[in-house]
Amino acid sequence: METSPLPAKRASRVGSFLSLVRKNKEALVGAVIVGIFFVTAIVAEIANVFGIQITPYSPLQQDVGPVLAAPSISHIFGTDLLGRDVFSRIIVATPNDVAVGISVVGVALLVGVIIGSIAAFRGGLLDEFLMRFTDVIFALPVLVIAMVIAVTLGPGVTHMMVALMIIWWPPYARLARGEALKVSHQNYIDSARLSGAGTWKIITKHVVPNISVTMLVYATLDIGTVILLYAGLSYLGLSVSPPFPDWGEMVSSYQDYLIVSPWLPIIPGLVIATGVIGFSLLGDGIRDALLAS
């Protein structure tokens, strides 16, 4: 069935899509920012696993420099009250934030596609039940619910991840259902049905590949939002336990030194904002490129 010209055609489509993204300056900036965050996260995590120090100073060691030093060549983001190097602390915190962003969005994508396409293809009462359930979860105030779930589980990065995963999927289910409904009217779905394929096979073989692009664009935009929310929970002291650093936690513990060393809380805040902007620009850019192609 698969004819040989198809992969080539697909490759050229991917190529023209990439060139469209490349032409879009905003998407390019976004891709660069996201790239830097990813590479930093991966390198920092690998280094952590093997116990290699890649940061200029040990992130946890105190008095590696003068206390509350302003940014300089030896400490580009300055030092905190305990004389720890802020730049090193920011680098080692990167894997947490990136991992939470990707895994929460990944799980939401999976759960959303399953619920949304089952609702669209089964229809009837099951559809009604699944979508009303989705509506109710969607209407819950995310941060507040994540907060109480997190309090019950106790602080910790994994617990935060789980708390967010429990409530993050509803928009994905809605989007997937809408897209799956559009696909369900296509002729190839009818022919798959006629050839005796069951709902599950139709969903995995025909629906998922056809709705994946829309879903992935939404997911890209969404990773930034999850990072923002995680930073909030971390700011509230629900993620890492001291002395291990996290961006949100750094802002909250450094905000007491706002008058003496304003850069201390400002720098981790800027890092969070830059990451979120990166994902937004990339997501917007991919969407524009898709609309154009």
């Binding site: 105030p141 805040g269 904002a273």
Partner: protein, 340 residues
């Protein structure tokens, strides 16, 4: 009749959402510190055996789960949210009645600024679509949207409170001014009714920075949606007709295009409201503003479970009521729902 069924459907939905929140808090309250009583009296529950016993009897805490659930919901309907250890064991409801009005004040101002600034920039953005002005506005709202609320709050604090010394850095009012007597419960309104200008001015001055911090995070959604909806509307046939009738461009833009383009903005108000209310948790903490957001953070730090669960329910209630109001407002502005 359609209108009635729409309103009834929304009301039914709102009660489902509240029921979901209450069920979640009920389930979670059973998983705190190994004992349900901890969810009502906090970690130090064992220090108050008499109170604990009273609670166990009143809320049937030794009975089957379903019976407990019934009494839990009944208790909530009667306003019982437990006692707050982080506030010296006064009822959570009392703490909320003191803090919620202050939070609502800044949420109200933030909502107004958010819609006003958002709409203004959306209009300018669409008017000068695809120019440098449009690009500048996009950069501004992207930065706002991408920044955590606590970060924007810190920047405002540095610039306006510590830098230019224009506005106070914390609190809800100047402690030296006389507080208004309780009339409506909302201090700013009460001080207006009483003619207590000193408090009113002080209250407004203390509310500006927290409200602005919240608004800077949310206005971008309004700008973005209004811009694209305006650009879309400008291609519609009725706009061409209006132009063909010889109306000048300003009349076409503001009288014909803007009115219709504003409809999608109204649907956004419920999202914005949710963001603003949850944003208070961070912003109030930065500005030491004694509202419900600051209470949650204190409760979190002190592991004050009754405070955390109680504020969760009240936050959800406020958000559900706000969303309901936005849904009803939508009926007013969009004739398609009214007639359709």
């Amino acid at each position: 009749m359609n209108l009635l069924s729409y309103v009834l459907r929304r009301l039914l939905f709102a009660s489902f959402v509240l029921l979901a929140v209450v069920t979640i808090t009920f389930v979670l309250s059973h998983n705190l510190g190994g004992n349900v009583i901890v969810a009502w009296l906090g970690k130090t529950a064992s220090l108050h055996p008499q109170l604990a016993q009273l609670y166990a009897e009143k809320y049937h805490l030794n009975d089957p789960v379903l019976v407990q659930y019934y009494y839990y919901v009944l208790g909530l309907l009667q306003g019982n949210l437990g006692f707050s250890p982080s506030r010296g064991f006064i009822p959570v409801l009392t703490v909320i009645s003191q803090t919620l009005p202050l939070t609502l004040q800044i949420v109200f101002f933030a909502f107004v600024i958010s819609l006003g600034l958002g709409a203004l920039l959306g209009v300018v953005s669409a008017r000068y679509g695809h120019t440098k002005i449009d690009g500048g506005i996009r950069a501004f709202y992207l930065a706002g949207y991408a920044s955590p609320p606590f970060f924007i709050a810190l920047v405002l604090l540095i610039v306006f409170a510590y830098g230019f010394k224009l506005l106070p850095s914390g609190g809800a009012f100047d402690p030296s001014v006389q507080q208004p007597t309780l009339i409506t419960g909302i201090p700013l309104i009460d001080s207006l009714i009483e003619g207590n200008w000193a408090y009113f001015v002080s209250g407004i001055r203390h509310a500006i920075l927290p409200s602005l911090a919240l608004a800077l995070v949310t206005f971008g959604v309004v700008t973005r949606v209004l811009r694209s909806s305006l650009l879309e509307v400008m291609h519609m046939n009725y706009i061409r007709t209006a132009r063909a009738r010889g109306l000048d461009e300003n009349t076409v833009f503001y009288k014909h295009a803007l009115r219709n383009a504003l409809i999608p903005v109204v649907t956004l108000s419920s999202i914005i409201l949710t963001w603003l209310i949850t944003g208070t948790i961070f912003v109030e903490n930065v500005f030491a503003y004694p509202g419900m957001g600051q209470y949650v953070v204190h409760a979190l730090l002190a592991q004050d479970y009754p405070g955390i669960l109680g504020t969760t329910i009240v936050f959800a209630l406020v958000i559900v009521i706000g969303n309901l109001a936005a849904d009803l407002l939508y009926v007013v502005v969009d004739p398609q729902i009214r007639l359709g």
